[in-house]
Amino acid sequence: MTSKREWLNGTYAKAAERPARFSTVSDLEVEPLYGPDDLSGDYDATLGYPGEYPYTRGVYGSMYRGKLWTMREFAGFGLPADTNARMRFLLDHGQTGLSVAFDMPALMGYDADHERAQGEVGREGVSVTSIHDMLALFDRIPLADVTTSMTINCTASIALAMYLVVAERQGVPWERLSGTIQNDMLKEFIAQREWISPPEPSLRIVTDMIEFCARRVPRWHPVSISGYHIREAGSTAVQELAFTIADGICYVEEALRRGLAVDDFAPRLSFFWDLHNDFLEEIAKLRAARRMWARLMKERFGAKNPRSMMLRTHAQTAGVSLTAQQPLNNIVRVAIQALAGVLGGTQSLHTNSMDETYALPTEDAVMVALRTQQIIAEETGVTNTVDPLGGSYAIEALTDRMEREALRYIDRIDELGGMINAIGRGYPQREIAEAAFTYQRQLEQGIKTVVGVNKYQMEDGQRIERLIIDREIEKRQIERVREIKRARNGAAVGEALRRVGEACRSGENLMEPICEAVRREATIGEISDIFRTEFGIYTDPGWL
């Protein structure tokens, strides 16, 4: 039999090759061919069967033959009633899970009537200041029957408390609630950059929530360890994989230090990946992530429960890959990225809308995005076979390579003393900024192509509709918030906030006191102010 090297030096050398750099969007150079010589390790150790260690081929035995992924379109804008209507519209059209986008003031811990909220109320997501907003947001949505994802981080403890209080009002026991709160503060310092206090106390709040949910809200995922934002900030696929897994290591170590047993909380850790343009690279990334996590949990942390070793994940198509130029092309990008997510074995998926480079999506645009998932699920046939690309020489070689290169980064972070120290030194931040700058230069030099932007441009682009957020919304929400603050029992609020402050100082788990503050109508900004006072304020070092 001819070896790959002989083929490369013989047949391939004689064949034509375009004068191009054959590399992934992340700039990994790709070989012309992969074959049996590229496979490493034996089948059981590196791949195994779906639903079996190391879960490279999928966390569940029957994957989409058993249950399709959760179709979850991220939604949030304007007042709670506006978003409530959008969520109920999506549920009516076959969406199977909810996903809430909050506005920047809620995400950063400011009430709608705060000076810093000016111009931002209800604009990038839904405005939520008090329990009244959360009640309106989930009006006529029975929390026992849906799973909800909430994308919120430095104020996650407050948002979760509000959700729990909505459940109380609906008469739904916390044990029955199912969903995910993003609550991944490490990647905030690395990439998404929404924070209140420094990394150490931020990590303490996350750990409080992991501990609290393990005891009281057992079906809830208290953290969604996210590569998405790392990638969107400009990292390569390998960096996304590496920094995310390293963040996961940090959360596990912190929970263990807290005295929790690994199998008591690890089964509820979940992940969130970006799905970028490079089809094979993205599939390989998801498969490598599962194998890496399984091995880490078993070998480094001594997990015994297989569920602790299973990396279950949400995925979202890459917002950063969408173009304002010729926006209809985005529908095609999203479809290909979503297909990569499905072939990579995701448990949940958000498909972006074609108009998101302009504004939050219109109802029509969201519908195309949701239908894209339904077409993949019910027309293409890719759901009939579990891990249909498993065993592809190219996919397996790329999966091995992603793992190998990501492990090098993880070793470096271990050398730096773990992720908190690495963040303090700006290590992942600088690596990402460097990759983002390199990519921009490659785009401008034409080494990388974005259709419609640096190639195949059109003078008169396509015009599409755009969602306009009424500027009046801000005024209405401010009046509403002021009215609520006037009407409540101020002394009761003050007392509840003092209790939150005490818990910050004593080290007692923060979740009970925060729930009580929320019940008494304390606002997101008031509780965040306690964090500011007790834990201090983090400011951007402004590294370039």
Binding site: Y110, G119, E120, E188, E194, A233, L544
Partner: protein, 134 residues
């Protein structure tokens, strides 16, 4: 040339953390021969106007991706004027729809760069349109 390098403040107002663009532009402008000061994230219009005056810059580049551009741009311009720095050239970039860009231009924003703009284009614009303050 007047012998002095142009000083540019790259600023990121608003509550969002989308700093990929701001950092790339800051770095490209620096590589392009300008003196660049980057504010970091989460700046209020007051903080930006104050920094512009303190640092004695010739131009302020604002990066806004939160949708709050119609509030933040005019406020920075107003505060610069209030501090006697109305001649500092204000330009910006981000997710800014055409209609809004026209309104901002009428309000004194010198240029708006939207997604797809290249660093080369922005550097050239600064060369051609920003002049040292007297």
């Amino acid at each position: 040339m007047d012998g002095r390098r142009l000083r540019i403040l790259v600023a990121k107002p608003g509550l969002d953390g989308h700093d990929r663009g701001a950092k790339i532009i800051a770095r490209a402008l620096r590589d392009g021969g300008f003196e660049v000061i980057y504010t970091g994230l989460h700046q209020t219009p007051e903080m930006i106007a104050e920094a512009a005056v303190q640092e004695d810059v010739d131009a302020v580049g604002l990066s806004v991706l939160s949708g709050a551009h119609m509030t933040l741009f005019p406020e920075v311009i107003r505060l610069l004027k209030e501090r006697g720095a109305g001649d500092v050239a204000v330009f910006g970039g981000g997710i800014i729809p055409e209609d809004d860009a026209r309104e901002l231009a009428a309000g004194g924003v010198k240029a708006i760069f939207t997604p797809g703009a290249t660093t080369v284009e922005i550097i050239k614009w600064v060369h051609d349109n920003v002049h040292p303050r007297q």
